[in-house]
């Protein structure tokens, strides 16, 4: 319940944050704190210093940018769930944001924090993966874009260098998208989550809690592209996946759920 001791620095710019991260490889960013602080309390992680970027208001926005929607990394889940632009142009992401945790969590948790935490059960990460979102990161060398498919490298690990800060998430405008989340209780992490959307002319499918990272259900996508029905394509949902076994579900059950939920998601899409 009590975190191990750490130092604290509140910064007023991303550049300041980058500099502090660069100085100490055991420094960690603090945004909404709703992925980090639970880990601190259980002493699963013991950073030397927290670099608090939570007040960088410039990183809290949702705006149209051509054929993309640009989302500031510090936008909170509750804001995304209620955002009219997002609701209009990428409703599946707004919906998923409304599924994260519970109202109190959604008031504080940020999309940047949640996504960087790279929990394989993350609703938002799964949707971003299905949408082929771009993640814009800033480092001492400037800005670069990492594709969602490259971003999640393992359980709770991402492609960011230690001194890189995720500043923006860019998603395509999507007319049709579905996020289905199977849970034991409403506040729980997904036992299995399925995101499905029409992106650039094809149906793309993301899976939460089916492996060490959020996954793309490529076998499903290929089957659909090859003309399979939703029911037949969904049969491939667990292909190549090694779903975890835990108290929320065995790997067999998760594989089964993935097939059912993918079929339902695809049926809802058409």
């Amino acid at each position: 319940m009590i975190p191990a001791a750490f130092e604290y620095q509140r910064v007023s710019s991303v550049e300041e944050a980058i500099e502090l991260l660069g100085r100490d490889e055991d420094a960690k960013l603090l945004a909404g704190g709703h992925s980090l602080i639970p880990a601190l309390k259980l002493r699963i992680t013991r950073p030397t210093v927290l670099v608090d970027i939570g007040r960088l208001g410039d990183l809290r926005y949702v705006r149209e940018d051509g054929d993309r929607i640009a989302i500031g990394a510090l936008a909170r889940h509750a804001e995304l769930a209620a955002d009219p632009v997002l609701g209009q142009s990428c409703a599946v992401l707004a919906h998923a944001a409304g599924e994260v945790g519970d109202p109190q969590v959604r008031h504080r948790g940020t999309i940047g924090g949640s996504v960087s935490h790279a929990d394989p059960a993350s609703d938002l990460a799964t949707v971003l993966l299905a949408l082929d979102a771009d993640l814009v990161v800033r480092s001492p060398g400037g800005e670069r874009t990492i594709q969602a498919g490259e971003f999640f490298t393992g359980p709770f690990s991402n492609a960011l260098a230690h001194d890189e800060v995720l500043v923006e998430i860019r998603v395509p405008k999507v007319e049709q998208g579905v996020y289905l989340k199977h849970v034991r209780r409403a506040q729980d992490w997904a036992t299995v989550g399925v995101a499905a959307a029409h992106v650039g002319g094809r149906v793309q499918v993301g899976l939460a809690s089916m492996g060490g990272t959020p996954l793309r259900a490529r076998a499903v996508e290929d089957a659909l592209a090859g003309g399979a029905t939703p029911a037949d394509a969904a049969g491939h949902a667990a292909d190549g996946a090694e779903p975890p076994s835990d108290v929320s579900g065995s790997s067999e059950y998760r594989a089964h759920l993935a097939r059912v939920l993918v079929r339902r998601a695809l049926e809802q899409l058409s």
Binding site: M1, R43, R184, V260
Partner: protein, 755 residues
């Protein structure tokens, strides 16, 4: 016009609503040292050495190990007939027997340093083989207490099995229900604090449902004269049967004496999930035989209970399970056998229902399996076998004497209230339509035993100088509303407004004796004791009033509506309680208006019948509880508002077992459900509103006619939901689903039926 039976809002609410609850962790306790327990991460291991050097290098930190703690071990009372060698040292010495067992005690100046220091205590363990299930424990291969030669800690019922028991039964059905291990999970984690006064008296503050019993245990184990021990429980945030004195409280008391200063402890939730004793964990193997036309003739129940590592109350509870095995049914032949075995898990104790939910979970599944086998409606099979309404008092073949009951009346009321025929019609329609979601309708009738060991409770009424009253009770409300309901009982007799009666509890110095609150006994013995004391106070007050009104006591009456004493036949002159108290005080006679009473009564038998409606997604297995209709009859209702709340909470607890909750151990004996993330007890989002249907069949065992309602909702709800799930899956040939009926267990059952 009696106040009893009215929906009186609770007088204790304001402090809770304002955030002024007197929970122990809120007490300032200036100067208290903080205690942090170091607990074994291993389920079974030899302890070779405990190195406290690094921990004690932190400023102002002291660490105590098993070798330091000179106190008796903690074990069950002898009349529970549990192996007396299987006792628990307060701090482990040579061996740890469950993950969570205390191996060292850290004392620090603040909470955070305690956590830091506890991490630095280095324990050298040698792992031992681990036994985690009752089946494995019963094999007596891995022994927790090798000198005892067995893992069986207690036995009950009859070891003899009659081979011809089911002769003459056309139909025999059997199955095994694993009533899974549950966590009580009160929202308030435990705290304890203690200090040794200069007068040598020990004060222990506790989050306990049983302060008076705790006082005796503390005295016995730590070698105090009981008169030198004071236990104080104030506001306790839920208990559910599990919050009674445990080793942590004893260690806090020991430390206060050892250090000569105040000490305090508050557990984290993780610690609570590990170390607050668990409940249920009974394997129920049942066999039921009957005729083809629906008459149950014989029932056998074999209970194999998981006592955890150190057998205590959980090892005794199969006696209650066996006692209530035949429930509401007039079954002529019953055989019960029980064994309690030790395993490398957290010890088990009572949690809401304590043995009676288990009995109901078995017999109600048996009835449904029997009904399915003979093709009769589950409601009708139950009706055919109920103990008839005119048969009370009724002594069962297991030796329980039920006081009063009307099971058929409850069934009729329930079926009408729920619209049973319409529900079956909807089910027929839905089945004809096909579709991914099946509708299930489940029934469960129950009778349970409240005040199960016929306890005695204390009640004292004292009139105060300002003409109000204090009711001191040995009961201990930790959410049940006694401050209001007991005040109502006394107020009704005294003719005072409810707000003028203050209920006091929880301090063993102020209240000389008490049975605490568990087993749904408080109103029927504590409330009644208060009533008897109030009645006696009124008699004495009549005497005093007579003196002041210059009449004989026999001619004085109390007008309860006005709260005034007057001579019979003439309303004036009269004296109010204020008048009486003022004059008596002046005359030094106020002490006459203080009376204590004890009341003991045999157990009473609340009963009821629940109906559950579930939607089961046959693809994902997920079960949604759509409706829950509950008839619960606990006799006279003192305050129907409070009674409703008890039933609602009871239902939720039982639904939690039916659909969501289980304490699950990993292969290594460490729980996988050690937090509120893993242990899924439901929120409002998982539950519907309930339909409670009132029914009142008084008991003859006390003048109020009141039984106990606190656990009723739990006893009836789990089997109703379980049966509903099975009912939904009946078309698929499913006859068994493991509890909890979560998505995976339902899906597995469907897979097995297909195979």
């Amino acid at each position: 016009m009696s106040i009893l039976g009215n929906r009186v809002l609770r007088v204790e609410d304001p402090r809770f609503l304002r955030g002024e609850g007197r929970y122990l962790e809120n007490m300032p306790l200036e100067g208290a040292a903080w205690v942090t327990f170091v607990r074994s991460p291993l389920a079974h291991a030899r302890v070779n050495a405990v190195d406290t050097t690094a921990a004690e290098a932190l400023p102002n930190v002291q660490v105590f190990t098993g070798a330091d703690v000179d106190a008796h071990p903690f074990g069950p009372p002898p009349y529970w007939n549990i192996n007396p060698a299987m006792v628990r040292p307060l701090v482990a010495r040579d061996v740890v027997r469950f993950a969570g067992e205390i191996v060292a005690v850290v004392v620090s100046e603040d909470r955070a340093s305690g956590v830091d220091a506890a991490e630095l205590v280095m324990v050298d363990y040698d792992s031992l083989p681990v036994v985690l299930t009752v089946e494995d424990a019963a094999k007596d291969e891995v022994l927790l207490f090798p000198d005892e030669g067995t893992n069986v800690a207690a036995r009950g019922g009859s070891q003899e099995h009659d081979d011809g028991f089911f002769d003459g039964c056309d139909v025999v059905v059997s199955d095994t229900v694993w009533s899974q291990r549950m966590a009580a999970a009160p929202l308030e984690p435990r705290s304890a604090a203690a200090e040794l006064g200069e007068d040598g008296r020990l004060t222990l503050w506790a989050t306990s449902q049983t302060p008076h019993t705790d006082k005796m245990v503390v005295a016995g184990i730590l070698g105090f004269d009981p008169a030198q021990v004071r236990v104080i429980s104030q506001d306790v945030g839920g208990g559910f049967g599990a919050k009674m004195l445990e080793v942590e409280g004893l260690l806090i008391a020991w430390l206060a004496r050892k250090l000569g200063r105040r000490v305090r402890w508050t557990e984290t939730r993780t610690e609570n999930m590990l170390a607050l004793l668990h409940g249920r964990a009974q394997q129920l193997e049942f066999t039921l035989g009957g005729s083809r036309d629906g008459k149950v003739l014989a029932y056998r129940l074999d209970v194999l209970a998981d006592a955890g590592a150190y057998p205590i109350l959980g090892a005794f509870l199969p006696n209650l399970t066996g006692l209530m095995a035949s429930a509401v049914y007039a079954i002529p032949k019953i055989e019960v056998e029980s064994r309690s075995v030790v395993t490398n898990t957290t010890p088990t104790t009572s949690i809401r229902g304590a043995g009676r939910p288990e009995a109901a979970q078995a017999i109600e599944r048996a009835l449904d399996l029997y009904a399915a086998e003979i093709g009769l409606d589950p409601a009708e099979v139950r009706r055919t076998n109920f103990i008839p309404q005119d048969a009370f008092p009724h002594t069962t073949a297991t030796g329980a004497t039920y006081d009063s009951g009307d099971y058929e009346g409850a069934l009729d009321l329930l079926l009408r209230s729920a619209g049973y025929d319409e529900l079956r019609e909807e089910q027929r329609r839905r089945r004809a339509e096909g579709g991914p979601v099946e509708l299930g309708i489940g029934l469960a009738a129950y009778v349970e035993i409240s005040n199960p060991v016929a306890e005695t409770e204390f009640g004292e009424v004292e009139i105060t100088e300002d003409g109000g009253a204090i009711l001191r009770t040995g009961s201990f409300s930790h959410g049940q509303g006694h401050e209001t309901t007991f005040a109502m009982i006394a107020a009704e007799r005294l003719g005072l407004p409810v707000e003028r009666v203050t209920v006091v509890k929880g301090d063993t110095d102020e209240i000389p004796q008490g049975a605490g609150t568990f087993g749904s006994k408080s109103t029927q013995i504590g409330g009644v004791a208060g009533r008897l004391a109030a009645d006696e106070v009124v008699e004495r007050a009549k005497g005093l009033a007579g003196d002041y009104l210059e009449a004989s006591a026999a001619d004085v009456v109390l007008d309860p509506a006005l709260g005034r004493f007057h001579v019979v036949g003439t309303a004036e002159p009269s004296l109010s309680w204020v008048d009486l108290a003022t004059r008596a005080s002046t005359d030094g006679r106020l002490g006459e208006l203080k009376v204590s009473q004890e009341f003991q009564a045999p157990p009473t038998f609340p009963f009821g019948i629940h109906l559950s409606v579930v939607d089961v997604d046959k693809e994902t297995g997920k079960v949604e509880l759509r409706r829950h209709v509950a008839v619960d009859d606990a006799g006279t209702l003192i305050n129907p508002l409070v009674a409703d709340g008890q039933v609602h909470g009871g239902i939720a607890f039982g639904v939690g077992q039916a659909l969501y909750e289980e304490v699950v151990y990993g292969e290594d004996g460490y729980p996988l459900t050690g937090t509120f993330v893993g242990y899924a007890f439901p929120s409002a989002a998982e539950l519907p509103s309930y339909e409670r249907v009132e029914m009142v069949t008084p008991t003859p065992h006390n003048t109020l006619g009141v039984k106990g309602i606190g656990e009723s909702g739990t006893v009836g709800s789990t089997p109703a939901v379980h049966n509903a799930v099975l009912d939904a899956l009946a078309p698929y040939g499913v006859h068994h689903v493991d509890l909890p009926c979560n998505g995976e267990n339902v899906w597995k059952a469907l897979q097995e039926a297909k195979a």
